[in-house]
């Protein structure tokens, strides 16, 4: 098992190192925790001009579930995420978030982009505190959670790409969101940093139990992080595969490789 070399300060470790939690235990814990919210998508449609990108998408996400959305380039997975994030308006269909579709507060939904999108003229700490009305203590705590506590007063330009994405992650999590949307956040990072970040995201998700939707082109990343992997193909949900591997995920195991191959075969199917 690859151990994350970054010091992670979470309130986890309740179950000890011997715990081989299965996926359902995580989901159950997520549902009972304060965080984690159900998401229901029905009949979602979105076109850009003449091009139909999303065609009748239907999804049900349980509270605290970690869902990965994969697919070829241009299949509409980012559009789906941005529609969930309310950055785009769909042409049709409905999205219901929260218990009985009650919706969630603006603060409860956070999105991480492919670039860190930090404000270059604010220090790292001020960036994490963006939109935070009640002081910098929470921001400093979030920053140390991702292992960058001592870089609080640096300018973003002094950080590497991976460090910047960690700051962006801290910025997203400092508001304790109930739904975290991740739009290929690790795509621009090198392979080693990517693995470290995946472990960081997984451990933070297990500790806090928010619902997470991760869009990624990397099938291995999807299997490493998600409870469910959804494949978007020709604007519809082509596959919905449950990942029943124990957490924390072990990359080298036979079951892992088998699932990864199965998904890859499906994604790489020759197009119609």
């Amino acid at each position: 098992m690859l151990l994350a070399p970054i010091a992670i300060d979470t309130e986890l470790n309740l179950h000890g190192p011997a715990a081989r939690d299965d996926v359902r235990a995580d989901a159950r814990r997520g549902a009972s925790a304060r965080q984690g919210v159900a998401v229901s998508v029905r009949g979602l449609r979105k076109s850009y001009g003449a091009r139909r990108v999303l065609d009748d998408i239907g999804l049900e996400l349980a509270p605290g579930e970690f869902v990965a959305v994969i697919g070829r380039s241009g299949c509409g997975k980012s559009t789906l995420l941005r529609t969930l994030a309310r950055l785009e308006t769909p042409d049709g269909g409905a999205i219901a978030v929260g218990a009985a579709g009650a919706g969630i507060a603006h603060d409860d939904l956070r999105i991480m982009f492919q670039e860190a999108r930090l404000l270059p003229w604010k220090t790292v700490l001020e960036n994490v505190a963006l939109g935070l009305s009640h002081g910098l203590h929470a921001a400093a705590a979030a920053l140390s959670t991702v292992g960058l506590g001592e870089r609080a007063d640096d300018w973003p330009a002094a950080l590497s790409g991976g460090q910047r994405q960690r700051v962006a992650l801290a910025r997203a999590l400092v508001h304790e969101p109930r739904l975290l949307l991740l739009d290929e956040p690790l795509g621009a990072l090198d392979a080693l940093t990517r693995i470290e970040m995946q472990q960081l995201i997984e451990s933070l998700w297990r500790a806090r139990g928010f619902t997470a939707v991760l869009v990624t082109h990397d099938v291995q990343e999807a299997v490493a992080l998600a409870d469910r992997v959804i494949l978007i193909e020709d604007g519809v949900v082509g596959a919905d595969v449950r990942i029943d591997l124990p957490r924390p995920r072990v990359r080298g195991s036979a079951a892992f490789a088998a699932l990864e191959q199965q998904l890859l075969a499906h994604v790489l199917k020759p197009q119609r």
């Binding site: 950055l87 982009f113 404000l119 270059p120 003229w121 604010k122 963006l130 939109g131 330009a157 910025r171």
Partner: protein, 284 residues
């Protein structure tokens, strides 16, 4: 390090003495290397002044065409002693600063307006672009007709000239704000004034400071033009007066003063950039 153990061993072994000499040479070389970037920019001006002084001494340059540097320095000293220099300097400085404040202030305000609101751009930008292309010199007769020949006329000319660099760069700066950052900030709940203050304005600041820097230099050039409109004091007046009386050395004092003030203005804008843009590695 060799340790000589023979009975005739010197107090300091030859190899360590060589090491000390080597280090001393290195220290001198390092100091020289550090001082070089500070001295190099002055190499050319000093060389020119020396060549100038030499030409005057050798009689190649008539003192009526171009007085020797020493004569210029003496004229400067006389003016400073008599107090005349300070009166002219103060007047010119006041005109420059006031004209700059009005022009740059208006340029900033209008640039922010047309940059931020499309409707304002549609209404105002075409008119402003047309006015921009009228040369300041061509405006002088009109300015004299409208404002007479007192301070208002000069300030108007300065303000109009200084306005456009600041306006254009402010407009461009606002329009170049990265939409990805705005989208991110909106998703974090920023909107209206906090969004403007935290995302749009800082993004525009590098451009705005370019405009300010350009205008701070431009104001001195325009000041010379403005001070030809019947002034009673000021560096331009002093220079023109001296020209009437063929006091070429005083003329040179005036020209050099303008150059010096322009350089000081440039240093000021560099300092502004260094402070406000210290987050940007390119400006350190």
């Amino acid at each position: 390090m060799g340790s000589a153990t023979t009975s005739a061993a010197p107090l300091v072994s030859p190899s360590s003495a060589a090491a000390v000499r080597h280090t001393a040479r290195h220290n001198v070389r390092d100091a020289a290397r550090a001082a070089l970037p500070l001295l190099l920019p002055w190499l050319l001006p000093v060389a020119l002044v020396l060549a100038w002084e030499l030409s005057s001494r050798l009689g190649w340059l008539s003192s009526r065409i171009l007085p020797a540097p020493w004569a210029v320095a003496q004229a400067f000293w006389n003016l400073a002693e008599s107090g005349e220099l300070w009166i002219h300097l103060r007047t010119s400085l006041w005109r420059a600063l006031t004209g700059f404040a009005i022009g740059a202030g208006a340029g900033l305000a209008l640039g922010l307006l047309t940059g931020s609101f499309r409707r304002a751009e549609t209404l105002l930008d075409t008119t402003l672009q047309m006015v921009r292309n009228i040369p300041a010199l061509a405006l002088i007769p009109l300015v004299i007709l409208w404002f007479g020949i007192d301070e208002t006329a000069k300030l108007f000319l300065l303000a109009v000239g200084v306005f456009f660099p600041v306006y254009l760069n402010t407009f461009h700066g606002i329009r170049s704000t990265d939409p990805a950052l705005v989208e991110m900030a909106r998703s974090y709940g920023l909107s209206g004034w906090p969004l403007y203050r935290d995302v749009v304005l800082p993004a525009a600041l590098p451009s705005i400071l370019v405009g300010v820097r350009f205008s701070l230099g431009l104001v001195w050039v325009l000041l010379i033009v403005a001070e030809t409109i019947s002034a009673q004091a000021g560096i331009g007046y002093m220079t023109m007066n001296a020209r009437e009386f063929l006091q070429t050395d005083v003329v040179l004092v005036g020209i050099l003063l303008y150059a010096l003030l322009g350089k000081l203005a440039d240093l000021l804008s560099r300092a502004l950039e260094k402070h406000f843009l210290r987050w940007n590695p390119a400006y350190r």
